[in-house]
Each structure stands twice: as structure tokens, then as C-alpha cells.
């Protein structure tokens, strides 16, 4: 049995005055595509932020590749863990290529990424995400879907073995959502990276993930293989509303709404 790449035990973290993580447990093997599932405020984004070294843990254990994460130098983890935030407020104009090159910064000397090798890797990453044509454009001027893919390209350029994606399909229309997921899937398959996707879309978890981490109120209520975790009972507990299985899909049970509704 291979040791888990990421191991969390009783993880605690605060976000402002409130307790974001209240004893989270997780055991993520390398190469897994994990869906981190839960309602709003369940701590899923916070877990990613702790992994990305954006939010400090206040208690519990968290190891990455056998070593406590907090004791590893930040630059070292940044070379191996890439974070794609949910939303980014771009205030100043920035060229897409420069944005993707930022992914090379942890590898560069003093956070400078200017070598031809860096440039090559950045363009390759953009190609893999199908945004190579946007290299010279201002990232501010892109559509939501295009920008998400550019940020994914940044994570690829980082050559990290772990990708943390926070609600990557939120707000995307069906076509762009599909494009993004296909790009992500292909990249994941090619590079055999470990991917953690925070989402509340059960369908996404059901179709893409190998394992699922189900959170509620900052704690893990279920984890493991997708088929084991995704049950109507678990989902009902996680989301605080009854679920039922209908034709291979999990749907929220409603007495009020007419006919069967699509996934939450």
C-alpha cells in the first residue's frame, strides 16, 4: 500500500473569527482525482487554502509526502503544489503569457522566471489548455472560461504534482464548462497529477473523481472511493436535505417542485 501523498488528521484552521476547519481528516494518494464536496461553509475552500499555504493551520496534522507541510519551506511546496483560486480580481492589465509565466516563479531565482526554458514550458502549458493564441492578450479582457483555462495553464507551467482547483466550473456556461473539464481531464491523464477539485456539483464528482472527500462544518463525514462515498444517505447528511437516487443520478428530493429537477 502506497503512503498517501497528502495526509491530514484533525486539521484545524481559522478564517477570520470563525473556525473554518474543525478536525478535518483526509488521506489522498498520489495520482488521485479527488472531489472535495460539501455545502457552502463546509470548509472545502479552506482546506485547499491550507494546502496551498495561503491559510495557516492552527492545529492538527498535515503532511505532504511524509513531511509536515508547515515545516517545509514555502518555495519548496510551491514547486510541487499549484493553486487555482476560484476568482481573481485583476486590477492592472497583464499579458496572458506573463500570467502563465508566474507559474514558473517558484522555480526561478528570486522568483524571476525569464529563461528560455521557462518561456517554452509556459507556451507548452498554454497549448495544452488551448489558450496559446491568447498569449499576447490582456488577461483582464478575457471571458470567464478563457481566463480559467489560462490559470490552469499557469498551474501546468508550475510543473506541480498536485493541483488544487477551487470551484473551477462555477459560473461557466455548459460549453465552457465542458471545454474546461475536457482540458483538465486530458492534462491530468497526461501528467498523472494529483488533483483536488472543490465543488458542490455532485454530478461532476460522480463523473470525474476517483475518490471523494465529503465535508460538513469543517469536518470529514465521509471519504474514500467515489462509489463508497456517494450515497443518498451521505449526501443527505452533508447537504442537510434529503437526496434520492434516480436513474443513476443523485437528486434532491422535493415535495414542492414539479417533476424531477436537474442536479443541484
Amino acid at each position: 500500500m502506497t503512503a498517501a501523498l497528502i495526509e491530514a488528521r484533525g486539521l484545524l484552521a481559522r478564517y477570520g473569527p470563525s473556525l473554518a476547519l474543525d478536525g478535518l481528516d483526509a488521506s489522498i494518494p498520489a495520482g488521485d482525482l479527488v472531489a472535495v464536496l460539501g455545502e457552502n461553509g463546509s470548509g472545502k475552500s479552506s482546506f485547499l487554502k491550507v494546502l496551498a499555504r495561503v491559510l495557516p493551520a492552527t492545529g492538527g496534522e498535515l503532511t505532504f509526502d511524509g513531511r509536515p507541510l508547515a515545516e517545509t519551506p514555502r518555495r519548496a511546496t510551491a514547486r510541487r503544489i499549484a493553486y487555482v483560486p476560484q476568482s481573481v480580481d485583476l486590477v492592472f492589465p497583464i499579458r496572458c503569457l506573463d500570467l502563465v509565466l508566474q507559474g514558473r516563479a517558484p522555480h526561478g531565482n528570486g522568483f524571476v522566471a525569464e529563461t528560455p526554458g521557462d518561456r517554452r514550458r509556459a507556451l507548452e502549458a498554454m497549448r495544452a489548455c488551448d489558450v496559446e493564441g491568447l498569449a499576447d492578450r490582456d488577461a483582464k479582457a478575457l471571458s470567464g472560461g478563457e481566463r480559467r483555462r489560462v490559470f490552469l495553464a499557469r498551474a501546468l507551467a508550475q510543473e506541480a504534482e498536485v493541483w488544487l482547483l477551487d470551484e473551477p466550473t462555477a459560473g461557466l456556461d455548459p460549453r465552457h464548462r465542458l471545454e474546461f473539464l475536457e482540458t483538465l481531464w486530458r492534462a491530468h491523464q497526461d501528467r498523472r497529477t494529483t488533483v483536488l477539485i472543490v465543488t458542490h456539483e455532485i454530478g461532476l464528482a460522480a463523473s470525474l473523481a476517483t475518490s471523494v472527500l465529503l465535508l460538513k462544518a469543517g469536518r470529514t463525514i465521509a471519504r474514500g472511493a467515489r462509489t463508497d462515498v456517494l450515497t443518498a444517505e451521505n449526501l443527505g447528511r452533508a447537504f442537510g436535505t434529503p437526496f434520492e437516487r434516480r436513474g443513476g443520478r443523485f437528486e434532491v428530493r422535493s415535495e414542492v417542485l414539479p417533476s424531477s429537477t436537474s442536479e443541484p
Partner: protein, 324 residues
């Protein structure tokens, strides 16, 4: 997206500064004939030498102060991810002005004024930073608000001090609050020089990290930057630069706000170019403004703060109208 690359941009900036320095040295109010200076004979030569001795420190001080303010402005705009950030937003100008006002009220020698002003500026920025601290972190949003509050508070103090000040003290205070380079001495130039160099060195060191801040503090942290340390260093450097500038030349607004804007439009947002180029452009701008302040109402002088505001406000309005 087009942007000048670093080498040519900095070279152009340096050339511009050199040209402006040469012109401002010669013109503005009383004309300094370079020919007389070179020839050096007779009364004309003597007058020219004396005038040069008066004007050279002034022009150099203008350049250094302009560099300080523009550099601080550029750094803060990058750190706060806010194109409207201005070094005076953080309470440093208010603190410095109150410091100088205390010196004037107490009747201290004008030589000590810069020290008072500097202490005031530093105390103000430390106070503002303390106010903005939340859970051990420097909260950038609170920083802006705390700075606003600090400035409002200091304005009140200043107005009160101004109303009880006697003729001489109030005159000094007024000139000080409007910015004045007329007390330039070689000593001041020598004292301010190291600040500019040190500030530039520190900020250039932080420049790649600041570049990562452009996409947000979280993004920078995820890429391995020690964000708390970077924030502290940049904030401190910007505060010291601003405090020093205000201590030696009074409150001169708009330079820290507008110069980085203009430079960004021409040379892009890479801090490794933006920071030094802003310093050069800020220096050139203030040297030019000083020449105008000497020339406009000769032999009287326009306060330099009035000129930067008169130039700055319409320019800023134009910038606002340009952006979609």
C-alpha cells in the same frame, strides 16, 4: 499588449531626467547663464557662481524628492493592488506635517524641522500599520481605511495648530503644508540621497514578489511568497521614502499617484521596470515643476504643491475618462 522593454525604457528615463535637470538648472525666475558660469570672470561670473550654488542643491533636492514620492507610490500601488494608492494615503503626510508643526510651534530651529517631520511620519505609518493588523496579519484593506482615518485626524490637529500659531510659525507651517524646495541645502541633498538609494535597492529586491502580488495576495502566497514579510518590507520602505521626502520638502501631492500611472501606461506593469522608471520620471517631473514654480510668478514663488496639484488633477481626470 505593448510595453517597452527594460533597457531602452530606463535609458530613455535617464536621458529625460538629465535633459530636464540641465534646463531647470538654467531657467526659472532668475536666469543662470551657463556661459557666465563657465567663463567665471568678473561680477557676472561671481553672480553666476553664487546663483549656481543656490540652485544646484535645489534642483537636486527636487529630483530626489520626486524620486522618493514616485517610488513609494509605485510600490504601494503594486502592494495594495490599487491604482489609486498614493503614499499620502497611509497617513505619512499628515504625521509629517504634524511633526513639523510641532517643531514650528515649539520654536525649534528650522534645521531640526526635518527630524521632527520624519519622526511624525514614521510614528504615523507605524500607528496605521498597527490599526490595520488583524490576527497577526497586515490587512491591506484595513490599511487604506486606517490611513484615511489617520489623515483626517492629523488634518484636524494641523488646523488647530495653525489657528493658534503666531505670525512666523504659521507662515512656516503654511509653506510647509504646501510644499517648498526653497530651503534646499547641500546638506539636505546629502541626507536624502541615501534614502532614495536604499529604498530603490530594497524595492528592486522585492520587485519579483510584488509582480506576483498583481494577481492577489493569495495567489502570491500559493506561489511560495512569504506575503507577510513582503508586505512589511514594502510598506516600511514606502513609509520611509515618503517620510523622508515630506521631511525635506513638505507635502507635495499627486506625484506618488500619477507618475506610476503614466509609467505603467508606457512601460507595462513589471515592477522591475516600473519601480526604477517611476523614480526617474518622478524626479524629472518634480524638477520641471520646481522650475515652473520659480518662473511663473518671478520674483515670487508659487508653492510647488500647488503646481503638482494644478497639473495632476486635470491629468488624472483625463486618465479616468480614457479608461473604458
Amino acid at each position: 499588449m505593448k510595453a517597452l522593454s527594460r533597457g531602452p525604457a530606463l535609458a530613455a528615463g535617464a536621458l529625460l531626467l538629465a535633459a530636464v535637470l540641465a534646463i531647470a538648472f538654467s531657467v526659472g525666475g532668475v536666469h543662470l547663464s551657463l556661459a557666465d558660469l563657465a567663463a567665471g570672470t568678473g561680477e557676472a561670473g561671481q553672480t553666476a557662481r553664487m546663483l549656481a550654488a543656490l540652485r544646484l542643491p535645489r534642483v537636486l533636492l527636487a529630483a530626489l524628492v520626486g524620486a522618493c514620492l514616485a517610488l513609494a507610490g509605485a510600490a504601494l500601488q503594486a502592494l495594495l493592488k490599487n491604482p489609486l494608492a498614493d503614499p499620502f494615503l497611509l497617513g505619512t503626510s499628515g504625521g509629517a506635517a504634524v511633526g513639523a508643526a510641532c517643531a514650528a510651534l515649539v520654536g525649534a530651529s528650522p534645521l531640526v524641522s526635518p527630524a521632527f517631520a520624519f519622526v511624525g511620519a514614521t510614528a504615523a505609518s507605524l500607528g496605521v500599520a498597527a490599526l490595520a493588523r488583524r490576527g497577526g496579519r497586515l490587512d491591506l484593506e484595513r490599511l487604506l481605511l486606517a490611513g484615511l482615518i489617520a489623515n483626517a485626524f492629523f488634518s484636524a490637529l494641523l488646523l488647530a495648530a495653525f489657528s493658534i500659531a503666531s505670525g512666523e510659525a504659521s507662515r512656516t507651517m503654511l509653506f510647509w503644508m504646501m510644499g517648498s524646495l526653497s530651503d534646499a541645502t547641500p546638506g539636505k541633498v546629502a541626507a536624502l540621497g541615501p534614502y532614495v538609494l536604499a529604498g530603490l535597492a530594497v524595492l528592486l529586491g522585492a520587485a519579483p514578489r510584488l509582480n506576483l502580488f498583481a494577481v492577489g495576495e493569495e495567489s502570491a502566497a500559493a506561489l511560495g511568497v512569504d506575503t507577510e514579510r513582503t508586505k512589511r518590507v514594502v510598506f516600511l520602505a514606502a513609509s520611509l521614502l515618503t517620510g523622508a521626502a515630506v521631511a525635506f520638502a513638505g507635502v507635495i501631492g499627486f506625484v506618488g499617484l500619477l507618475v506610476p500611472h503614466g509609467v505603467r501606461a508606457v512601460a507595462g506593469n513589471d515592477q522591475r521596470t516600473l519601480l526604477p522608471l517611476s523614480a526617474l520620471a518622478g524626479a524629472a517631473l518634480l524638477v520641471a515643476a520646481d522650475a515652473v514654480s520659480r518662473a511663473a510668478l518671478a520674483p515670487a514663488e508659487l508653492p510647488i504643491g500647488a503646481i503638482t496639484a494644478a497639473l495632476g488633477a486635470p491629468l488624472f481626470a483625463w486618465l479616468l475618462l480614457r479608461t473604458p
